[in-house]
């Protein structure tokens, strides 16, 4: 079976005038289908940069990225956008929902924008996803009327809309209280378990990492230690 994510010798150097900052150094990361992996590291360790590279939001200085069998680091901007739309899902620390749209419209948006509108099939799937994340009673609510935890659940449903092969989450519980954070983590685990969806969750929270099936730790831009199976805390 193909790896969902295969990052080989990823290096990333930022330039600011005459200053060069090497954020990632020869990073190798591989994710198998269905994994729920935590990407850990202290602030400045390069984990968010790696997540952005894996999410095709940033081009690495060196190295190669293959997602679901397709080499993606050399795609054009338009091809990367299309790839992100059809093959990747994103969950951010701040939900970044569209405040002028309902929960259903927000979830359907990634499919509707390239298609030119929300088709009945899209609306049906969006509503199913919202029901699945426990928001069947908030389908037509403007997202501004939802709580923080509910918004993040909408963001998870949106990430699942186009049935992505890899879901990238950047501190998905970082802006939530403990109860809401637990609910969101449970939801991601449920999706991972039932849909075999592959997650790479960037976090600095050990409790979040403890709920994942694998953990990758970055330190000073390098992968620290070997890959390790991690006992799941339930």
């Amino acid at each position: 079976m193909n790896d969902v994510l295969e990052a080989r010798a990823i290096g990333m150097t930022f330039r600011n005038g005459d200053d060069f900052t090497e954020v990632l150094k020869n990073v190798d990361v591989t994710l198998q289908p269905g994994e729920l992996a935590a990407l850990l590291g202290a602030s400045g360790s390069g984990k968010s940069t790696f997540l952005s590279i894996a999410g095709l939001l940033l081009r690495p200085t060196t190295g190669a990225i293959t997602i679901a069998g397709q080499r993606v680091d050399q795609l054009s901007d338009a091809e990367r956008a299309e790839f992100r739309n059809t093959r990747l899902g994103f969950i951010f620390q701040f939900h970044h929902l569209l405040p002028d749209f309902t929960a259903t419209e927000n979830v359907a948006f990634p499919a509707a924008a390239p298609a030119g509108g929300i088709t009945p099939a899209m609306r049906k799937r969006a509503r199913e996803l919202l029901a699945r994340v426990g928001l069947s009673d908030r389908l037509d609510f403007l997202v501004t009327r939802l709580s923080g935890g509910q918004k993040q659940r909408v963001a998870i449903a949106r990430a699942l809309m186009n049935k992505p092969e890899l879901i990238l989450a950047d501190e998905p519980t970082g802006s939530l209280d403990r109860v809401a954070a637990e609910q969101v983590l449970d939801l991601m685990r449920e999706v991972n378990r039932e849909d075999k969806a592959t997650f790479l969750i960037c976090t600095h929270d050990e409790q979040v990492a403890a709920r994942c099936t694998r953990r990758i730790t970055l330190k000073d831009g390098r992968v620290e230690g070997a890959w390790e199976e991690h006992p799941v805390v339930t």
Binding site: S52, G55, L57, L58, D77, A78, A81, E82, F83, R84, N85, T86, L88, G89, F90, F92, F94, H96, L97, L98, P99, D100, F101, F109, P110, A112, A113, P114, A115, G116, G117, I118, R158, A159
Partner: protein
């Protein structure tokens, strides 16, 4: 089109701001409409004032020019002398009149004999410009019969109509005889049938009307005419129609604009001033749209960033902002056209005690189609800058902010 849905939703998300923006556009368009209607109204009034008592086109024989005829040996040359005794005349004028009558653009014609003469009353002598016309077409060019202040407008075989100032200068009134003396020294006693007042000094002091029948022996023109005066349905077409008539008849055709070059210059300057004001009002509208959409794009950086992150194309993002510009432009221009028309229509009803409009606006000449299209197109162009900036937004940078 989903981009249109998003654009509409963005506009409705802040109704007060959108309403203000549309009101700004509408105000600019109203100003544009008002200026256009005023400039056009002024031009119409001035043109009407100038052409009310004169022809739009004058047809005359071509000017005879003395020509130098070179001889074969180049030492000698002869000059063709132009007779100054024989009046310039249109000998076969009937075909020209028939042609004019067949033209739908021609409103009225007046075949005339024009010349110079003197009116003698006792010791008093006054020069007059004589217009001899067919009495049936007395009012074709200037509504003289409606401006008779004493007597009547029936010229008859020996009648003459004179202006009120000329009558005062010579101490004449209707019914009195006056000696008419042509520039060739031919005298005839005529009767003042009527005195008119046009309000134009040149007419009231210098012009006298005779019938063609009376004038022919006095001006030694038993058959011909000196000129044919033409009124058009649309004075603005005088140049084009004059060119056609010159081509068709071989006669010199002079449009009214050539006889009033200074007025035309003033109208042109007035139109240019209007264009400048229109341009500035449009530019202010477009700058308003561009700045409002730029602010909107900036305020929505996070949303745009997330859209870009989940793969929405930059074309889609740009379309959302261009469509907002289009909607603002169309709605604002539409409201502005309606309010501009309403304003001009109201202003057109305001008159002074003499019934003259306080502002000579022409509500139908507001340039509505032009301003609607220009504003809509301009609004789209004004939205291109914020649209491009939004479309180029780096998703990562936007999300991190």
């Amino acid at each position: 089109m989903f981009a249109l849905t998003v654009a509409r939703r963005y506009l409705f998300s802040n109704p007060a701001q959108t309403a203000l923006l549309i009101a700004g556009v509408a105000l600019g368009v109203t100003a544009f409409v008002f200026i256009t209607a005023l400039i056009e109204g002024l031009a119409i009034r001035l043109t009407d004032d100038v052409t009310a008592n004169s022809a739009h086109i004058s047809l005359e024989p071509e000017t005879r020019v003395a020509r130098v005829l070179p001889s074969p040996d180049a030492e000698l040359a002869s000059v063709a002398i132009v007779s100054t005794f024989q009046r310039r005349q249109i000998r076969s004028w009937e075909p020209a009149v028939a042609l004019l009558r067949s033209q739908p653009s021609v409103a009225a014609i007046s075949p005339q004999i024009s010349g110079s003469a003197f009116l003698v009353k006792g010791e008093a002598v006054a020069p007059v410009a004589v217009t001899a016309i067919d009495p049936a077409y007395l009012d074709a060019i200037s509504p003289i019969s409606t401006e008779i202040t004493s007597g009547n407008s029936s010229l008859g075989a020996d009648g003459i109509l004179i202006g009120v100032r000329l009558a005062e200068n010579l101490g004449l009134s209707s019914g009195q005889p006056v000696l008419f003396r042509t520039d060739r020294g031919i005298d005839r006693l005529l009767t003042v049938r009527g005195v008119f007042r046009t309000g134009l000094q040149t007419l009231d002091e210098k012009v006298a009307y005779l019938s063609l029948q009376t004038a022919r022996p006095l001006f030694l023109l038993p058959e011909g005419l000196t000129n044919i005066e033409v009124k058009l349905e649309d004075p603005g077409r005088a140049r084009d129609v004059a060119a056609f008539l010159h081509e068709a008849t071989g006669l010199r055709a002079t449009p009214w604009q050539e006889k009033n070059a200074s007025l035309e210059g003033a109208l042109t300057a007035q139109a240019r001033t209007g264009t400048l004001i229109q341009m500035f009002s449009l530019i202010s509208v477009l700058v308003g749209i561009a700045s409002a959409l730029s602010l909107s794009a900036n305020r929505r950086r996070g949303e745009i960033g997330i859209m870009r992150a989940f793969g929405v194309s930059s074309t889609f993002i740009a379309a959302v902002f261009v469509l907002q510009g289009l909607l603002i432009g169309m709605v604002g221009a539409g409201i502005g056209c309606v309010s501009g028309f309403a304003l001009c229509s109201w202003l057109a009803t305001l008159t002074n005690a003499e019934g003259i409009m306080l502002l000579p606006v022409a509500p139908s000449e507001g340039g509505y189609v032009a301003v609607f299209l220009l504003t809509t197109l301009g609004a789209v162009l004004a939205s291109v800058i914020p649209a491009r900036s939004a479309a180029r937004l780096d998703p990562l940078e936007a999300i991190q902010q």
